[in-house]
Symmetry: C2
Subunit: 418 residues, 2 copies
């Protein structure tokens, strides 16, 4: 339940900065204890959280929210248990804080180390899934950070209730409740103020659609990491094993079409188009195909792909298909239309694989595997706070390391510079 | 010499993006050859560059530029030779591109690598030192990047002449001349457009004072790394060796007061203040001291330090001095006033050293060494493009690695996700 006079961003920011200093001194065990305590409390107070959530859901329903939106917003005992399980899983991950990333000794005897440290205060702006509240808290705390959360208006009461439970978990472990701050204000102005909280927020992770990302680019003065779109391609080379290519294409498009690492455009080498395209089209039953002229000559039922199709992240069972002359044309197409997320080639030609991995500029490039693997869990990072499509700080799936910084620690015995 | 119709940012950006794709395929040898060719050309054309520079210097003089500004702007044969030597040195550094930062195999057989790759196009906004033109080009090209340069109006002709020479070096090595682009427009509007060139600039490195940094925070939509202020502290603990503390304090303040890693505030443990302060004050001859009450009780000639002094980066032979009760008070003072650059403790107490390095939140923390070592060269990074005071991407002195990104490369043999 949200308190009657909810704390302002300034209040929350001051508490979070203070908490971050305490967390910087805390042990990994202590932070894991807080996560485990929060997980237990989430389960023991699941009924209350679900009841609060029901008021949010009812209000959203009255406001005419779509079934998809309502489903994302809704909590039940199972979903609360999944949130608790997520916290326990994060508690068990290896702690990145304190890792010595590199170290050497200078000729003058200075010992130099680069040591992984928490970022400090992480800000998260997110939309209506309440599980982000505990997931983001878990990853941030594990990496030694305080977190400031700013969720959507539709989940205000739910998020408030969850944050209260998380705060109780922190208190049980002797850590400051200010380690998690929840901005119970969901206006556009509050989001902009959040993005401009220089000196308070060390790193902002916006989790939402293109309009949120555009707002961050426009307004943010705090450092941020963009979790961007995935306009992902699979290029089936002339030398590809057709069976392998078919299963990768079908998996990349249909295993879960609504996510950012699903394929949106299929590129097929002209040499094999006449045999491969009919085969893969049959396997992609239920997927709407939109092709260029050469594709439509082979698949007459395909719709016409327009310029806009090449640039669209459908997030749906729709696939743009283009026949390309060669590897260069495939790389050019991806350079022009790709969003820098995940790009795959299916090939048996070493030289083609080498050029594709060297020249395609994306967070992840894959050879002979589905784009669907580009995900923190699947790559073995343990968990993810998002998938960065920018090139600075973190690129691709962001695990705990992306929530840390590195500091130089230099030890001497009286050295001065000449 | 600048051409009559200088290329627009759009022209330069398109050429740089195209060049970046070529550079991504270039070998390290080829890029080193371009740097060496540019170095030779800078020397053989030094007379022409110096002559062009003389027109900029004359114009700045007529505009009433200060001697300091004129000195920064002025080139002579020796300074051009130093620029050439800088390019040769960078050519000889180890290439970060292609480094496998980490790699592992997933249970399903997927082989995952994180590979260091160029950023793409780096933008540099800088002030009137023309050597930045070749230095920034050298580091960016070495790391496989194209670079877009936007210098100050006072150095317009000089920078144009230098860029022409650098372009000739690229051409000699068979690399695209568009790898270095120079925006021959120095209006405020052109700077803002540069900061907003999303999709063109992958990373902006502003090199300038607080007003430039503020403009970047306010206007930039491209990713950037802040090369910020250095309000650096030295804390002399009760257990410090007085001789070591004296030499570190004198070095940190006086060896080169005008740079960001010079000390600006000295914090002294109350227990040793009465012996240490008179001693260090004598050693700091010529430095204006501004102290708190306890300092002034021991050093009656010191001026009164106001609240503003604690927050000031003097970049001059002025030092704020404060007596603190203990390590906690020192850490609190630094947390409140420090700019997150370089912070040092002088101590013989292991526990104090450990707490200081763990709790002080700065790009670099030093134990028993002068803050003046926090510099790419001194730490052994080979060269530096700046010193980051932000926590994302790069922190502290930025060498070649800071000009790269990391990409996931995933290799399989037909894996699909279940």
């Amino acid at each position: 339940m949200v308190a009657h006079a909810p704390p302002t961003l300034d209040d929350l920011g001051a508490a979070a900065r203070e908490a971050a200093r305490v967390l910087a001194r805390s042990s990994s065990n202590q932070r894991a204890d807080a996560l485990l305590a929060a997980a237990d409390l989430l389960e023991s107070q699941a009924d209350r959280v679900v009841a609060v959530n029901a008021t949010d859901v009812a209000a959203a329903e009255a406001d005419g929210a779509t079934p998809t939106v309502l489903d994302r917003l809704r909590l039940d005992a199972g979903r609360v248990a999944a949130m608790a399980a997520g916290l326990r899983k994060v508690a068990a991950l290896a702690d990145p804080v304190g890792q010595v990333v590199a170290g050497w000794v200078r000729p003058n005897g200075l010992r130099v180390e680069q040591v992984r440290v928490p970022l400090g205060v992480v800000g998260i702006i997110y939309e209506n899934r309440p599980n982000v509240t505990s997931d983001a808290f878990g990853l941030c705390l594990k990496a030694g950070n305080a977190v400031l959360l700013r969720g959507s208006s539709s989940a205000l009461a739910t998020n408030g209730a969850i944050v209260e439970v998380l705060g109780d978990g922190l208190a049980k472990a002797g850590l400051p409740v200010g380690s998690v701050g929840f901005l119970a204000e969901a206006s556009h102005e509050s989001a902009v103020a959040f993005m401009r909280a220089t000196g308070t927020i060390d790193c902002l992770v916006p989790r939402g659609g293109p309009s949120l990302i555009a707002a961050v680019r426009e307004h943010a003065t705090v450092p941020y990491v963009i979790d961007g779109d995935g306009n992902c391609h699979v290029f089936v080379d002339a030398s590809a094993d057709a069976g392998m290519a078919e299963s990768i294409v079908v998996n990349a498009k249909t295993q879960r079409p609504g996510v950012c690492n699903a394929m949106e455009t299929l590129l097929v080498h002209r040499q094999i188009a006449s045999t491969f395209l009919p085969r893969v089209a049959a396997a992609l039953e239920g997927v709407e195909l939109r092709g260029d002229e050469a594709t439509r000559a082979l698949l007459p039922t395909a719709e016409v792909a327009t310029e806009a199709d090449w640039a669209t992240e459908y997030l749906a069972p729709v696939l743009a298909v283009r026949v390309v002359d060669d590897l260069d044309a495939a790389i050019d197409h991806i350079a022009r239309y790709g969003s820098g997320h995940s790009e795959a080639i299916v090939t048996s030609d070493v030289a083609a694989a080498d050029r594709f991995t060297a020249e395609v500029d994306a967070a992840a490039v894959l050879v002979n595997a589905s784009t669907r693997f580009i995900d923190g869990e699947e790559l073995g990072l343990g968990a993810e706070i998002g998938i960065s499509t920018q090139k600075l700080h973190a690129r691709g799936p962001m695990g705990l390391e992306a929530l840390t910084s590195v500091r130089f620690v230099v030890r001497g015995n009286g050295q001065v510079r000449r």
